[in-house]
Symmetry: C2
Subunit: 343 residues, 2 copies
């Protein structure tokens, strides 16, 4: 059914000659073809909410870079939005919520679950168009922010160096925090189910701010909600990527998602020693490696593949940075595609 | 010679009944008495460069909070400044360098070593005044940014979410990066020696952006320079605090500094299991714990002391955040001072 199914076969632990490759943030940012479309619009949000354009930029890296999967062009902040918190995107500064969550009343007012998720029709339409236009060439990845990461934005209103407002809420108002996390989780679950209905072949859950916590907080405020998602959302494989959560890696593995994403700080050899070769991992090249000379990019990528051995999806350990030299990205992808475990 | 020498005795691994306590960023931010002085001035830099005022705010937390050490009020960015890169401090945004390092010529132009460090006379004067006015009550801690952290600011010009410019330089221009790190290191060494001359009893080296790297980069671009500092600066004990560098902890311990600082993500029980009870550690309460109810603050602090057992300097795992409730800070300090290992 899918022509290039090396990603799906890798997730099923079938024998493949090389790892599949795709890059977090591959749709957008680094491609001139993306920037051309983007610059003709009023802003990022217009692109996210216009299904045929979102589909177009989703497919660009498949055509131009030859990656083994497409990931739908969207934003994790559509979830707070459908729950009732609108966001803006300020150029070069990132997301901004004019209104944030402060009180029990703010949480009580939020919509959640199916009724909220269904509002994101433009995302599902974008998936459907992408699926159709991909015409079975590669699998399509859908995604969501993890509950804690979405919670962080809803409390902070914007990015933060310390996320101390969001963390303070966990310490000061643990019951309210759980109530908000529960509502977010129920929304994420419905959202991901609707993404499967719309054609997603794989799902990734991004916990971008996991590293702000520690093992104890992660166990109390994150893992139970990730577990609900992994258990409830069935039918396609799931990738859980908790950036910075090295301190909870064993418990993240125990969630039972098909794939565990690893950030660039995770020591590959140690990981395989501690957790074995059977876990399918995704990652974890330092995105800054792509600033190096092409031969060094290839060398680092090859070492990485040799370290992880099989059961590995090649990716960066964080989203690709906007000023990454495109030629190096292409060189990386070609290096991975030319790799062979048997030689 | 020093009246309350529990910090120094702990560093020497003598038997003490409780851990000493001081807090990173204790001078400034959270104290109304600090803000009163600060608001009468043109800006942060005026305070840093006016020795008697810097001395005054250094001593405030000793008087008001009863901490077991004073840490000189200053900024890590005085090093880039004395090397030739002036910085500004933009309210609520942090440091900003109008000019950054981009080329070999920029690096060649920098002053470094003794000639650069000696320019920071106002820092040494502040230490002398503090030392005199403390009158032997508690030890005085001097500090410096670690070479990689200073390098990051000199390349980025400001804080960053990814520090991708600074990291890119490591990948693209490793030789030039080493040359710059060497010049910074030679300056830091002279600076710390002059701080000892001016009265510092203990030195702390802050590697605030260590966590942006990984084990391999840390081994190549950070550890050799930290080693030079630890080896060259003799006469007082040194604390090395590499925030986020969990991946290099064993190698940081091997540097041979008297104390190893730990951020809040480090699992205490695991640390003691892996590295034994003989290493003197400093840390590592999550600063956000101080937003909790007072009884929870006390509970967390007590658990922490029980986890580390002896050979421990109580501190946060990051600088205290500006909006921390002052009563909780006092409650924390009182809890630690009332603790007894024997009961």
């Amino acid at each position: 059914m899918i022509e290039n199914d090396i990603l799906l076969r890798t997730i099923k632990k079938e024998v493949v000659v090389r790892p599949p490759i795709w890059l977090m943030r591959q749709a957008g940012r680094i491609l001139p073809e993306y920037r051309a479309i983007r610059s003709s619009l009023s802003g990022f949000i217009e692109l996210v909410t216009t299904p045929h354009l979102a589909a177009e930029v989703t497919i660009q890296p498949v055509d131009i870079l030859g990656v083994d999967a497409a990931i739908i062009f969207s934003d994790i902040l559509v979830i707070p939005e459908c729950m009732g918190l609108e966001y803006e995107l300020i150029e070069k500064k990132g997301p901004y919520f004019p209104k944030t969550i402060e009180t029990a009343a703010d949480i009580a007012k939020l919509e959640y679950g199916q009724v909220a998720a269904e509002k994101l029709d433009y995302v599902f339409r974008a998936l459907e168009i992408t699926k159709k236009n991909l015409a079975g060439r590669v699998p399509l990845i859908g995604f969501s922010g993890a509950p804690w990461t979405l919670f962080s934005y809803m409390l902070e209103g914007q990015g933060s160096k310390t996320f101390s407002k969001a963390k303070a809420f966990l310490y000061k108002e643990p019951k309210l925090a759980h109530e908000l996390l529960r509502k977010i989780t129920l929304t994420v679950i419905e959202y991901l189910k609707l993404k499967i209905n719309a054609g997603a072949d794989v799902l990734q859950i991004f916990d971008s701010w996991a590293g702000m916590l520690d093992r104890k907080l992660y166990a109390e405020f994150c893992l139970p909600y990730l577990k609900m998602i992994v258990d409830e959302v069935q039918g396609v494989p799931k990738i859980v990527f908790s950036k910075g959560a090295y301190f909870s890696l064993d418990q993240i593995i125990d969630l039972g998602s098909e794939v565990v994403g690893l950030d660039w700080t995770i020591n590959r050899t140690e990981f395989r020693q501690n957790y074995g070769g059977e876990i399918v991992v995704q990652g974890n090249l330092d995105p800054c490696t792509l600033y190096a000379a092409p031969e060094d990019v290839a060398k680092s990528a090859t070492e990485l593949m040799q370290d992880f051995k099989r059961n590995h999806i090649f990716n960066l350990g964080h989203g690709v940075y906007p000023d990454t030299p495109l030629d190096n990205v292409k060189h990386l992808i070609n290096t991975v595609k030319a790799f062979n475990y048997n030689t």
